[in-house]
Amino acid sequence: MDPAALLSLIVFLPAAGAVLTACAPAAVARWIGLGTVAATFLLTTAALLPAYFEATPDDHGMRLVTDAEWVGSFNIRYTLGVDGISLPLVVLTGLVFLLSAATSWNVSEKPRAYWSLFLLLETGVLGTFLALDLFLFYVLFEVMLLPMYFLIGVWGGPNRAYAAIKFFLYTLAGSLLLLVALLMLYAAGGSGVGASTFDMRLLSDIARGAGTGEYAGVTIDRGTQTLAFWLMLGCFLIKLPAVPFHTWLPDAHVEAPTPVSMILAGVLLKVGGYGILRLAYPLAPLGAAAGAEIVCALGAVSIIYGALAAMAQTDFKRLVAYSSVSHMGYVLLGLGAWTLSEPDFWKMGFSGAIFQMVGHGITSTGMFFAVGVLYDRVHHREINRFGGLLRRMPIYAALGLGMSFAALGLPGLCGFVGEAVTVFAAWPASPWAAAAAAFGIILTAGYMLRMVQRVFLGAEYVGPLRENLSQLSGRETAIFAVLMALAVALGVYPRPVFDVTEPAVGRLVDTLGDAVEADRERNDGETVIAGAAE
Amino acid sequence: MTGYLIVSAVLLTCGVVCMASKRNAVGVLMGVELVLNAASVNFVAAAEFGPPAVPVQVATADAIGVGLDGQIAALFVIVLAAAEAAVALAIVLAFFNQHGTADVDAASELRG
């Protein structure tokens, strides 16, 4: 296959599937849905991975770049590409959607609509990770919203309308911040030149004053960068979500059906971290340099706050949702670890953040799946009304226990690597944040084990519908086992992920460092001139 | 010219006050007519007199005043006022038929 077309195929195959599902009879909707998702997964792994490693990166470290004219008047191009930052997330997306689709197998209400929206969502997510053009990115970023709204709103729990609109409002507010920032940068990047550009790669060059060709010498002033950075950060903090923008998450999770929760936690939150790495930092390095410490601090606050709030929850799903807030805090922590003097630690922070995203993608998917399995059977999520599941559903509980350990950051499981690496990386940059994050592991253990104790341990299940507590079906076991196996594999040998991210992260950090350095020199120069003038 | 402008301004004020204070729809419409007439006065005046206080450096003579345009405009205003009045009366009649009154204050049923 033409490697360039591969990315387009990955992005739009689910959309095609969505159209097909919408037109097909309801009975076969799930077959088409699952088939499409599986095909997409195969594309992201069996086809994309070899192609990725064969391809040679371009000047900006991107591979398999597809570039086509789209909207001439705005200089919008249809540009897709993949690098080490997006590749792990793309693969994760394929996987989580596959597992989630398998979890959705028994959705009986309006299956056609469900599967169409489901597939559309996948297009949005994959496209967001692969887009290199800001306009395309934004469009696909927003394409995620509507399906999510309906998936929560139509197939959700009793309070779904509230949760859905809350999710939508928060995210839309964020995405408009993003839009404003993007348009500002778009305008600023074209000032003095004929054409503004939406190309992330070019814009990032321009932002650090390293534009080439017709953009040579164009820079984006510090004020614009600062404003744009905070706007973009705001968007992604909401998406991530970081305290205090996180309150949409527990509601959305609690009301969303299980597969949607899996996707939301497993993939959608990662868009936040990805956006910071891909947009907020490279497009506004000067603003970012000033704000990195706050990112770090917000990460620490999220970790502690999320964990504390999780500790107070009695709803299983809400607890897991807050644990997501806490765990995504480590992503922020890593992302905020700008150690200018020690670029290696800086790189470690970014790599750790990406790894944490992947790791959390697996553990949170698993945890939400675990909740869903229970909810399917006994139709409640009250932690205090479980118990004894290790006895009643041993396989389920064992896997659930394993997943909980992965989530609380036990070495050998995937949660640990991300947490440890981000804390290590954050230490030189911001010891207090790192220390706070380290203390977060106590709280994490606290609420996780408290949950484990009340749900899995104990003598007997104490809630209603005891007779429904059947063993895991083969399908459920397979989903859970795959997640667990991945958690172990990545925990024991995380190198593959780091190896993939390293060149991209290295390049990113180097360019950011250059930008900050160049700015400092410029300022020094100005000071000297000012001094001379005096 | 100034005199005409003052007259038209007075007419305008009367029209607006009439629109704002008359309870009867027909009265309100008469206010509108007054306003339009104020405009007509201006047009006719403008046709007759050049633009005041403009340091005229424009080449062509006919550009100084509005000329015939003003008078035609006044005519059009009259015509349109008539057309509008016709439509307005029809609507007021319909309203009267439904509400039994031409009191504009009765038109307060549409609320969000």
Partner: protein, 695 residues
């Protein structure tokens, strides 16, 4: 095979057993099948064999360091798994695998009541019937052994941390083995969380050292620390961080509270995990890190150890639970080890680690034997007089008691050696180091006197334990008790032999010699003066005498109170101390649990509630408030259309009304306000425009 290869094989061999145990429900679905146990025992024994081979093959004091694979690496920062093999590693390997072998074999017998589909758990009011979990236990056990060996083999701090957490998790699983019992689940959770408090510190220390050094390999850390390349801040944070981890893992003050509760696990677990190996991990790590620890940290270690020794010993005096006594005793003994490490008695501390592992696991296994015999009764007040029913166990226990008390018969020599068991030698080494240290630093005299007193207390509570259990008239729970089967006795006897004779020769013997082959050199510190070797040797004699006197006094008191000649059953003999408030206080472990609950647990939970409440009320409230506000404004806005124009154009309205009065008509109403608003706005805007543009 090279030494590292042997040890790596030894590390991962038990993993086979773990897999076998965890998957036995599929390949051995029958419940009355010990296959998993046999596989596990074989694996761990094989592990021991490999470790022993490696120890014999190892030639020389030079440590062997190596890297397995990198978790994360860049030019300036490396996180990896790798090994660091020296005499300490090898000793620990042999120790862990040997004790584990014994425990594993013992457990084959101890857990035989799990070999059924209808295991009855008597700890519930209504008897709980559940399928047995024989296989699972061995799975966990092997998993633990792997994790422990992984910890011990670790060539860098990160690797150690990995093992550190893994043993914690295995400990969680093992404590929670009887997860149906609420107490077991709670104890497991408590153990893990308390450990995590220390681990958080560990993580911070790790971060500080990693940031300072770029990697955390022991070799390079020691080199850098020795060469003064690491900043003092990094060393201090690193040192205290690591210490925090060790305090948690080794149940040192102030994090000792989890260990007594951890006795909720099966007794073999207590023997292996919570006395011999895992809890010794903290001591091991302090020992391992000694070359990179600054004086402040060492002194803190000494004082914490000193405090812990006493804090552990006192409650042990009043415990009525067989395993509870042993647990507090473990805390106390671990304090000894820490103390020794702190007063630069590197060899002494680790020496005691080894001997303690043997005699304490011996005692736990004996206790297990008693517990099985007495149908899971472990309250010493209900025991008594078991000497006759279980002579072998009693004898073995006695060996342990003598060993831990550090009793010896001075003057009588056997093979040119004072007639004594292992504990005597190691405790003697510790005391002499402490004495030498206090002589060199008189300000720290307490570091000698407290352990000395504690030595007496140790003898006292141990004799009490033995006396209440085995001597006297039979207690209420001893009906039908009989000696345990050979599968349980064999490991007990092996361990008894080791507890008695492993330390033969004292600090001149082979064990000490091997252990200290790669001993770090005693550094010089600004804070205190390290005693010279000569001073230690000199102190030896005094310390030996004083230690013996203290132990002898304690033992004598114990014999007097609880000796075999006291015929009353245990409960009667223990009764005198039952109800005093101070006794209750001490028995509950100085009330630490209550204090922590009030000062740490409650506030944290409260903070959690506050956070959740903040979410609900403040953050969500703000959002909702905005929404409500918007809705209000909207309603307001809507009424603008119909009514508020009245207000907005009140001025115009008044004007109009004025004119209206003039014309004899005063009204107010909707539509006209529209028009008035229109006119007002038009005029107003015009005026505004003129002002702005022309003014």
């Amino acid at each position: 095979m090279s030494v590292p290869a042997l040890l790596i094989a030894a590390t991962f061999l038990p993993l086979v057993g773990a897999l076998a145990g965890l998957t036995a429900r599929w390949w051995r679905p029958r419940k009355d099948d010990r296959a998993a146990g046999f596989v596990a025992s074989a694996c761990i024994l094989g592990s021991f064999g490999l470790a022993l081979t490696a120890a014999l093959r190892w030639d020389g004091p030079e440590p062997i360091a190596g890297s397995w694979y990198e978790i994360f690496s860049l030019a300036g920062v490396t996180l990896e798994l790798g090994h660091h093999i020296d005499s300490l590693t090898l000793t620990m390997f042999c120790l862990v695998s040997l004790v584990a072998s014994c425990v594993c074999v013992f457990a084959l017998g101890y857990l035989s009541d799990e070999l059924t589909h209808e295991h009855r758990d008597h700890s519930f009011e209504e008897e709980l019937v559940r399928p047995g979990r024989f296989h699972l236990f061995f799975g966990y056990l092997c998993l633990f052994v792997t994790a422990m060996l992984l910890l011990v083999i670790g060539g860098n701090l990160f690797h150690v941390f990995v093992g550190w957490e893994l043993v914690g998790a295995c400990s969680y699983l093992l404590i929670g083995f009887y997860y149906e019992r609420p107490i077991a689940g709670a104890a497991a959770t408590k153990a893990f969380v308390v450990n995590r408090i220390g681990d958080a510190g560990f993580l911070i220390g790790l971060a500080a050292l990693l940031a300072a050094n770029g990697d955390v390999r022991f070799v390079s850390l020691f080199e850098a620390a020795g060469a003064g390349e690491l900043s003092r801040t990094a060393l201090l944070i690193g040192g205290f961080g690591v210490l925090a981890g060790c305090v948690g893992k080794s149940a040192q003050f102030p994090l000792q509270v989890w260990l007594p509760d951890a006795m909720a696990g099966p007794t073999p677990v207590s023997a292996l995990v919570h006395s011999a190996t895992m809890v010794a991990g903290g001591v091991y790590l302090i020992g391992r890190m000694t070359p990179a620890l600054p004086g402040e940290v060492l002194l803190t270690v000494a004082y914490l150890g000193c405090a812990t020794a006493l804090i552990g010993a006192a409650p042990a005096l009043f415990q009525t639970d067989l395993k509870g006594i042993l647990a507090y005793s473990s805390i106390s003994q671990l304090g000894y080890m820490m103390l020794a490490l702190g007063v630069t008695g590197w060899g002494a501390g680790l020496f005691h680690l080894v001997t303690h592992a043997f005699f304490k696991s011996l005692m736990f296994l004996c206790a297990g034997s008693v517990i099985v015999a007495c149908h899971h009764a472990q309250d010493v007040t209900k025991l008594g007089g078991l000497m006759r029913k279980m002579p072998v166990t009693a004898g073995a226990m006695l060996v342990g008691v003598i060993a831990i008390s550090g009793l010896a018969i001075p003057g009588v020599t056997l093979f040119g050696e004072a007639l004594s068991f292992s504990g005597f030698h190691s405790k003697d080494a510790i005391l002499s180091h402490a004495l030498a240290f206090t002589e060199a630093n008189p300000a720290h005299a307490i570091l000698f006197w407290v352990p000395l007193v504690t030595a007496g207390l140790t003898a006292l509570y141990m004799v009490r334990l033995w006396g209440l259990t085995f001597a006297g008239t039979p207690g209420s729970a001893t009906k039908g008790a009989h000696e345990s089967p050979a599968v349980m006795l064999a490991p007990i006897l092996i361990l008894a032999g080791l507890a008695a004779f492993c330390a033969i020769g004292g600090d001149g013997g082979p064990l000490y010699g091997f252990l200290t082959r790669t001993a770090p050199e005693v550094g010089t510190f600004a804070l205190f003066e390290s005693p010279t070797e000569a001073a230690v040797d000199e102190a030896h004699h005094h310390a030996e005498m004083m230690g013996l006197i203290a132990a002898g006094l304690g033992a004598a008191a114990g014999l007097a109170l609880f000796g075999p000649w006291r015929r009353a059953p245990g409960h009667a003999r223990a009764e005198g101390l039952k109800d005093a408030a101070v006794v209750r206080w001490l028995r509950s472990g100085w009330g630490f649990d209550a204090v922590y609950r009030a000062l740490a647990v409650r506030p944290t939970l409260l903070a959690g509630e506050v956070a959740a409440l903040t979410d609900r009320s403040a953050l969500d409230g703000a959002v909702h408030g905005t929404a409500t506000l918007a809705r209000r404004v909207a309603r307001f806005e809507r009424s603008v259309d119909e009514r508020l124009v009245d207000g907005v154009v009140r001025g115009v309205g008044r004007l109009a009304r004025g004119f209206g009065r003039l014309f004899g008509a005063t009204q107010s109403g909707g539509l006209r306000q529209y028009v008035a608003a229109l006119a007002a706005c038009a005029v107003g805007l015009a005026v505004l425009a003129v002002v702005l543009l022309a003014g």
